[in-house]
Amino acid sequence: MNLHRHLLMLCAISLVGVGRAGAQQTIALVLAQRNSGFHQAIACGARAAARELGVRINVQAAPVYSAVDQIPLLNSVMATAPDAIVIDPAHATSLLAPLREAARAGAKIVAVDTSINDPSILSAVIATDNVAVGREAAEALASLIGNRSGKVAMINSIPGISTVDARIRGFEKAIEDYPNLTYIGNQFAGENVPAAQSVFVSLMSANPDLVGVAALSNNPAMGVAAGIRATGVAERVVAVAVDADEVEIAALRGGFLDALIIQRPYEMGYEGVTQAVAAVRGEPVETPIRTETVTATRENIDQPSVQMYLYRGNCI
């Protein structure tokens, strides 16, 4: 399988020019990032749906999570005139103009994970209820801390990403319900693991009575886990994170993280392609689709009902 795949890639240049299938529909998946388990899982779900529905799929992913890299990629993909685009827009405003142009060119557009400021050009939106993700993170944190009292904090990636902003809102609202916990605020560390680690270490030294920390996406979560390992406070600080990259799962098993709120990116990719194909074929489209979450702890991480949602795959 693997050898076959590599050969296929090496031959891709020579094959694609020739192999334009006649009536078969083509769906393009334009991801905002290539180095992440989350995006790998979206791609795997999309490929699975494409196989079942008998459509061709072209998966492309930008090198860095930024509109600057995703827009030229989208334009290049549009040059191949796909019937539909499934995309996780890196920015709600910047992607508007190119997506409008894609819609004018006749492509159906489906947004997964995040949306854009003008949803009218979208055939469907498939995303997690991110306010609920934040709320679940706060609830998991509070229940793991139990009736101890002390300070809790958040470390997150970048302000202005709609998904992360919604999670922060959900967390901040829900944490108010626990009078034993004093929320001391959120720090942004960028999509940068070492930066998140150093923010955690600083927070810990400034607040020795910290009992809980939450990181609502993968990169800051890995930084927090590394910080907890470095400061040796795993016993008294409860850490809750969002997503289920390999490193986060290892940290959960190692005791550095205590709960993971896991999204279902595979389902986003699967439903994204399914709804895109429905839109192309003129069949009824289901939108918006709210994908569920599942909370993983050390106790349930090996159960099949959790294992099936871990972010894995090699589909980009």
């Binding site: 492309q60 993909v77 980009i316």
Partner: protein
């Protein structure tokens, strides 16, 4: 613009046309560009030669080209400017804040935004230039340091969030605007590059730039005010970044703080691919044009032929190595 700088050396060997080609690195690189474009045109003509792809490549190349124009000047003086991406981000953040402050969406706001963008960029160029020319600090270290200050400053001013609020008039008029099918950004970059090329290859200013790069001592003895000239060159590089920052605002309808981390390396790659020596003294602006478009055409073409993302990185790296290798073989054969 025509080539002027090395006309003296080549006039004698014009009888053998192959030698004439070998003497002009920028022509070699144009040939490579043409071959790459021809391969993609052959593999998938309907997609590669479609309007949307040609426009996409032209616009991508244009914004990069403006940054590379400044970088070419700097590298010809045997310097380097790593801060171009950070200056681009800083000036675009200041520009949006200024346009928001003006409030109205009209040519007035657009002009203020442009002036602020170019002005704040020029200040960074002045800082870089003074430290390099008068304090005699190494350009690599100085501009490495200003990256941090400019990016941190941009995040302080914007609160770390990408700012929206770019006037609709410039988004529609410049960012996605076209005249007779040609994107406005491409026309701006074209005019800008031609002017910069004429200055580099046809004026005393350009000649001094080459002179400083090939032998600073000699240039000083010939009476050139080397310090002042170097400061001007770094200001030019920064102003180029400022212009690119303004155009990037009109293209993305927001600042793009996280999107320019490797602009400096991309610009250096393009300039060197275009035949400019990192040791200074030689190089042409039209070589840079070809150097800019090789990675752009490769990136678009590889997506169009459907190569998976990670293989694209490998392929781009290999082609860049080949281009530099061919160039080195050419130099040795001389």
């Amino acid at each position: 613009m025509t080539c002027e700088t090395d006309a003296g050396q080549t006039s004698g060997s014009r009888r053998w046309s192959g030698q004439w080609l070998l003497d002009r690195p920028e022509l070699m690189i144009f040939t490579s560009l043409a071959i790459i474009a021809a391969v993609f045109s052959f593999l998938n003509p309907s997609a590669f030669l479609s309007g949307i792809n040609l426009r996409n490549m032209a616009v991508e190349g244009s914004t990069a080209l403006i940054v590379c124009v400044g970088m070419t000047y700097v590298i010809i003086t045997a310097g380097i400017d790593l801060s171009v991406g950070a200056v681009l981000v800083f000036s675009s953040v200041c520009s949006v804040l200024a346009m928001r402050a003006v409030g109205t969406d009209g040519s007035w706001a657009a002009a203020v935004g442009l002036l602020v963008s170019l002005g704040t960029a020029a200040i960074w160029g002045l800082i870089n230039g003074m430290l390099i020319a008068y304090a005699k600090l190494n350009s690599l270290i100085v501009t490495l340091a200003t990256i941090g200050i400019a990016l941190g400053g941009a995040r302080l001013l914007s609160g770390g969030v990408d700012l929206i609020g770019v006037p609709e008039s410039i988004i529609n008029g410049i960012g996605i605007g076209r005249v007779l099918g040609v994107p406005v950004i491409v026309m701006i970059a074209g005019v800008f590059t031609v002017v910069a090329g004429v200055v580099m290859h046809r004026t005393r200013f350009g000649l001094y730039t080459y002179a400083i790069g090939s032998n600073e001592q000699a240039a000083r003895r010939a009476g050139i005010n080397v310090e002042r000239h170097l400061v001007t060159v770094y200001v030019i590089a920064a102003v180029c970044a400022g212009l690119a920052g303004y155009l990037s605002l009109t293209r993305f309808a927001s600042t793009t703080i996280a999107g320019h981390g490797t602009d400096n390396l991309k610009a250096i790659t393009a300039v060197v691919l275009g035949g400019t020596s990192l040791f200074g003294g030689t190089g042409t602006l039209y070589g840079t044009v070809a150097g800019v478009f090789i990675p752009v055409v490769l990136a678009a073409g590889l997506v169009i032929v459907g190569l998976p993302s990670f293989w694209q990185e490998v392929a781009v790296g290999i082609v860049l190595l080949l281009a530099v290798l061919v160039d080195q073989l050419r130099r040795r054969s001389k």
